[in-house]
Amino acid sequence: MKYKSQKVAYWFFAFSMLLLILQIIYGFIMAFAHLGYDNLHPVIAFNTARAVHTNLLVVWLLSGFMGAAYYIIPEEAEYELVNVKLAYIQLITLALVGVTAVIGYHFNYWEGRKFLEIPRPLDWLVVANVLTFLGIILTTLFKGKKRTTTSLVLTMGLVFAALLYLPGMIWFDNQTMDSFFRWWVVHLWVEGVWELIMGGILAFLLIKITGVDREVIEKWLYVIVGLTFISGILGTGHHYYYIGVGKVWLIVGGIFSALEPLAFLAMALFAIAMYRKGEKKHPNKIALSWTLGTAIVSFVGAGLLGLAHTLPQVNMYTHGTLVTAMHGHLAFWGAYGMIVLAFISYSLPNLTGRKLYDSNRGVLAFWLSNIGMLGMTVAFGVAGVAQVYLERRVGLEFGDVQKEIQVHFLILIICATMFTTGIGLFIAEFIRYGQPTDEALIAATDHDA
């Protein structure tokens, strides 16, 4: 038995999938520009395509997290969402702010601060929107019958993510200060509080899918988020090596950021161990693949590929090159893209009452998107390492180096096509499930399904 108000989650997921498609289109525009075909430049210059690509990424992930929270909190708290109508309004206003921002980016209405391009007036609307969301979640949790560790960790992640948005809204005359606080948003999100969100969602999925005792899962959840913060907060220093602050960050940032992969390793080991321990009876194998997949790929993309360039001696050379783009893709995909897709795969059968989880299409979607993204990572990586060598060590001109490495973008586009095919199949399945119903939710169960 589930809760009727969980239905609202479906629409957040649908919005999320729409933005993912748009994000990919703008990714292709940039990949072609790198390949030398920047024909759209007069209409969509590279900086426009980039701002749209990365902002849509953040918004589809946030929309996915919000949908997951609207689904998880009622079930964990054993209480319907306090105001479903407001949740729908929150989604619509989120969409409106998003659309305005994206259109604005095509007309030079933005702020040139990587990842935080949304202009300040719109920032305030984002804040109002997120406060509405948190209001609904927190009141439901407060009025609910239970406050589980899983729901508390998830909620804590969401609340901190909102708070950390604020340092990014302050204006600084000094570029170094600007950069310093930009990382309080960007780094402390992806290597801090978003890991709480990921951990909370992962714990919920593991409880439902493996059937392992909640007490065991939640104990390890505390250990994981403990490792996250202990390494990740001081790990912020790995962005402070070369921006105009002191040498102490070379040591502090180097040591603590090198410990960050432990949290991701713990997450991967935890997911695998719980799977082994569990009864393996849950029929939704596709959700299981995405759940184990996110734990493993995030360790590779964020943990290992992050570690690869996090020591100051290495970062001196790789800082601000395509090596960063390599890591950015697999980390975002593995940790946050895949957890959202895992949650969608798990929840759709319960929301719609259709049990389409044995389809080959779903399996193919998983493998094509993952292998495609891995290929893209390799293409960015090879281009990046060559760039570092030729530009930073041999001392060739930027433009000459870019000509040398252009061919790797052809490979990137081929792999991206494979990735996109996978995502296309995932979305085709999403559509095939149809819309959520109250009856489906009332009938839904996890264990003898």
């Binding site: 940039m30 520009a33 790198h34 030398g36 920047d38 007069p42 210059a45 590279f46 900086n47 980039r50 701002a51 030079n108 933005w110 702020e111 040139g112 990587k114 391009e117 560790t149 005359d173 000094n174 570029q175 170094t176 200060m177 310093f180 930009r182 007490e215 939640e218 390890w220 505390y222 250990v223 403990g226 913060f229 202990i230 907060i233 001081l234 912020t236 220093g237 090596y241 070369y242 921006i243 105009g244 602050v245 002191g246 040498k247 102490v248 960050w249 603590f256 001196m316 050379y317 800082h319 601000g320 090159t321 530009e391 930073r392 060590r393 041999v394 001392g395 930027f398 433009g399 870019q402």
Partner: protein
């Protein structure tokens, strides 16, 4: 074996301790190091005006500065030293599309004043003490 409440203490305690250290180090950096390393005395109204133009046009959407930004166009931290004022001003003021080695830059057609403001900003950026970044190409003959 570790119990759930011990795990919780590990999480809350560890977070608190590292967070306090982080705030302390940040305070020290911002109040003591930044003014010296960035030569705050040279942060004139013109430099700030240049920063506004830099942000308003999202230059970071193609270039990197202090190693942050996009990878479509060159790193600009040391561009003042590398190219000099005249070259940069031409790039910013030209009204005809410009594509060095096939990479297209927006033809901003800036006024002389705006272009000078951006140059002042880039000059100030170039003087920040960055612990040796960008590295000197060690294999260059």
């Amino acid at each position: 074996m570790l119990s759930k409440s011990q795990a919780k203490v590990f999480f809350l305690g560890g977070t608190m301790v590292t967070f306090v250290i982080f705030l302390g180090l940040s305070w020290n950096s911002l109040s003591k190091e930044v003014p010296k390393r960035t030569h705050e005395e040279n942060l004139t109204a013109q430099v700030v005006a240049g920063k506004h133009i830099w942000e308003k046009n999202n230059c970071m959407g193609c270039h990197t500065i202090l190693g942050e930004g996009a990878y479509y166009a060159p790193e600009l931290t040391k561009v003042y030293e590398r190219r000099g004022e005249a070259y940069i001003k031409v790039a910013l003021m030209t009204k005809t599309p410009w594509q060095p080695r096939g990479r297209q830059m927006v033809a901003y057609g800036m006024s002389d004043k705006d272009a000078s403001d951006v140059v002042a900003f880039l000059k100030w950026i170039g003087e920040i003490d960055l612990n040796g970044f960008p590295p000197k190409p060690d294999l260059k003959k």
